[in-house]
């Protein structure tokens, strides 16, 4: 028995040592290495924003045009891969950026919130909202609350919450105090009213922060969040799933709405039914050992379409 215990200990030690040893080897960056290209899948709003932003529109919805051997991962997958894969390149939203990876400047402009607000950082995507058609809400209270919520999105108070949650709000001048008299519904106790929110996963944190703040301002209504992807913003708010159990009152999309999503049965949606609430910057990321600091749209396009396959194509010393 003692022997077995000893062996067990040895084995655990061995495994740990092995793991540590695997991570320990680090040397200078070898530019002759092949680039490993990481991407999100075609349903991702981040991918649509990134590919559109680098002028590679065909790649928004098709994997066939990408370089051979690309790797598809989700947001977390890309982040963790690029902490270990020295020769990889990928992209994440600005709010995800950490010190464990290196975010690249785009066309010479650093990926910072300030540069998104002053409109110099170009690789970005809109966060959009969409609400149900007038008279199609579960109740008049919900309809009034949603109308007030949309108004709240355009106030400085809403903008604060959006910025605090990691996205970049659109400029606003009015405060909620200036306009709240127009929305009498917010002065009554709404704790029995549930408003359903859904759509993009990428916007979930921002949306939750917004509803949490707005609920305090609007009679403590209950915000039910169920985020399943940008496409569901249209489908579950005005599209064919709107009357099913998954229907939503407010939907969010982390990409521009497609033309097909701005109409129902051939009739265009009225403009007050959708809009933008914020910007989210997308950042090209590499391993921290990578000497690269800046990329252009052209560089990224050439990496993703396979013109550049080695880092030496891009890094000239």
């Amino acid at each position: 028995m003692k022997k077995i215990k000893g062996l067990m200990l040895l084995l655990v030690f061995g495994l740990t040592l092995g793991l540590v040893a695997c991570q320990a080897e680090e040397e200078g960056f070898n530019t002759d290495s092949n680039i490993t290209v990481y991407t999100r899948d075609t349903t991702s709003g981040t991918r649509a924003g990134f590919m559109g932003g680098i002028g590679f529109d065909e790649a928004e919805s098709s994997d066939d045009v990408l370089v051979e051997g690309f790797v598809i991962k989700d947001n977390t997958g890309i982040m963790t891969s690029l902490q270990t894969d020295e020769f990889g390149i990928g992209y994440v939203s600005l709010s995800s950026l950490t010190n464990e990876i290196k975010g690249l400047s785009f066309n010479g402009v650093a990926p910072t919130e300030a540069n998104v607000i002053n409109n110099t950082y170009d690789l970005k995507r809109p966060f959009n909202w969409m609400v149900r058609t007038e008279g199609d809400f579960p109740s008049q209270e919900v309809e009034d609350l949603v109308e007030a919520f949309v108004a709240f999105l355009g106030t400085t108070d809403g903008a604060d919450i959006i910025n605090n949650a990691g996205a970049v709000a659109l400029p606003a001048t009015q405060t909620w105090d200036d306009i709240k008299a127009n929305y009498p519904i917010t002065e009554q106790d709404n704790s029995g009213v549930t408003v359903r929110f859904g759509g993009s996963d990428s916007i979930q944190k921002v949306a939750e922060a917004l509803t949490q703040a707005f609920s305090a301002k609007a009679g403590n209504f209950v915000a039910d969040h169920d985020h399943t992807g940008s496409s569901d913003a249209y489908k579950r708010v005005v599209g064919d799933q709107k009357d099913e159990s998954v229907g939503k009152d407010v939907g969010f999309a982390s990409r521009p709405f497609k033309d097909s999503e701005l109409e129902v049965g051939g009739v265009a949606l009225p403009e007050e039914q959708y809009g933008q609430l914020a910007w989210d910057a997308i950042v090209a990321i590499v391993h921290v050992n990578n000497p690269l600091n800046n990329v252009t749209a052209d560089d990224l396009r050439k990496i993703y379409d396979g013109t550049y396959t080695k880092w030496s194509d891009l890094i000239t010393e």
Binding site: T76, T98, T156, D157, N164, T175, D189, K205
Partner: protein, 403 residues
């Protein structure tokens, strides 16, 4: 020569079995170690007892407040910043989910922030207490102080202002109390649906069914079902059980009952198979002896066979519970993914496994909290395991069954 060879060969085989068991043990230890190392930091009692939804308050200063020189003899650590002008100390901290927040550490008894006016609906008087998280402070004609910029920044901005327009603060949210309750509900409800049907089916198959083509087909069907991915069952639950429960109960969406029904269907093959195995190992002599004593077939089955198969049935139950706790894909469809604090049978809510899923789909994923929840799941399974063992021991003693 041949003896040596045989010896060597036996040692080799022995070595392989030793190696195999050590590798599996090593891998299991690594997983537990990974979960523990990642999740331990966030593990505390508050996480288990707190609500997920934080309550936010929106407040205004009382009329005629006074700014002063609120000195305090209290000593604060490096992460705490104190404003003598406002009598408020704020600290950078992380909340239950590991997110950076600003926590109120101290409010001077005479501070204008001590008694506040509620700008929202409800009790008109608010009280900024310690442990609250400050989300933002808005001023007239100046940029707001936001919690994401840190406590030092917030105190600095506050010190520059003589009035505030509004103060937003919240209770600590992010707890998993609701998900734990949902998981326990799901376990009980699913077992209520699945055990009678599963055990009944197993008794039929093992004790009553003739060895004919139909019954053989039935068995292979059941066996095939274990290989169906659970997400398919989830879709079935969404298509069949959700509408049924909406029809029959006050539910309007996917709910706990439809989720339990879906899980029950997933569990049936496991329960039937394991129970059948345990019925099979009851010696035929018992059956013959019981029948010879004049007991009917039904009496034999329920009075003799079932008590003897009890430990096997408990194993089936335990496997089922493990599956209920671990199942996520099916539940995403059959119940939904919204995290709830008030759990009702006819409403949506989230089990612990789906809570992990929901933390992992955040951008960026919350691996720490997910590990913490995994750790809690491991502990729940361990507790259930031990208690079921105890129950089975008592039960066996009562029936005089010795194994």
């Amino acid at each position: 020569m041949s003896m040596l060879n045989r010896n060597k060969r036996e040692n080799l085989y022995k070595g392989i079995t030793y190696g195999a068991s050590f590798i599996s043990l090593g891998v299991l230890l690594l997983i537990v170690g990974y979960v523990f190392l990642n999740g331990f930091r966030l593990l505390n009692f508050d996480l288990i007892t707190n609500n997920y939804t934080a309550v936010t308050y929106i407040a205004d200063l009382d009329e005629g407040f006074e700014l002063g020189n609120y000195t305090t003899s209290k000593e604060f650590n490096e992460e705490t910043f104190y404003s003598e002008k406002w009598g408020l100390a704020l600290t950078d901290d992380t909340d239950l989910q590991g997110k950076n927040v600003i926590v109120v550490t101290y409010v001077h008894p005479d501070s204008p922030l001590h008694t506040l006016q509620n700008k929202g609906v409800g009790d008109p008087n608010l009280d900024l207490r310690t442990e609250y998280e400050v989300i933002r402070i808005a001023f007239d004609g100046a940029a707001s102080a936001l919690s994401s910029r840190g406590a030092e920044n917030m105190i600095n901005l506050l010190d520059q202002q003589d009035n505030i327009r509004e103060l937003e603060f919240a209770t600590t949210g992010g707890g998993i109390r609701g998900s734990i309750i949902t998981t326990l509900y799901l376990i009980v409800l699913t077992l209520v649906f699945a055990l009678p049907i599963g055990i009944g089916a197993a008794i039929y198959l093992n004790e009553y069914a003739k060895n004919n083509k139909f019954n053989r087909m039935l068995r292979s069907f059941i066996e095939t079902l274990t290989g169906v991915p659970s997400i398919i069952y989830g879709l079935m639950g969404l298509a069949i059980f959700v509408p049924i429960t909406i029809r029959l109960t006050s539910a309007t969406t996917g709910n706990l009952i439809s989720g339990s029904m879906t899980l029950a269907v997933i569990l049936l093959p496991v329960i039937i198979r394991t129970t059948e195995e345990s019925l099979k190992v009851v010696p035929d002599d018992y059956r013959f002896a019981s029948l010879a004593l004049g007991a009917s077939k039904t009496q034999t089955v329920f009075k003799v066979i079932l008590p003897n198969a009890f430990s096997g049935i408990l194993t089936a139950t335990l496997l089922a519970i493990g599956r209920i706790i671990g199942e996520s894909a099916a539940l995403v469809f059959a119940i939904g993914t919204s995290i709830k604090d008030d759990v009702y049978l006819t409403d949506r809510s989230t089990s612990l496994a789906v809570h992990i899923w929901s933390m992992m789909t955040d951008e960026p994923a919350n691996i720490e909290l997910s590990s913490t929840i995994a750790l809690i799941i491991l502990m729940i399974v361990l507790v259930l395991n031990i208690s079921i063992k105890l129950v089975s021991k008592r039960f066996m003693r009562k029936y005089g069954v010795v194994r």
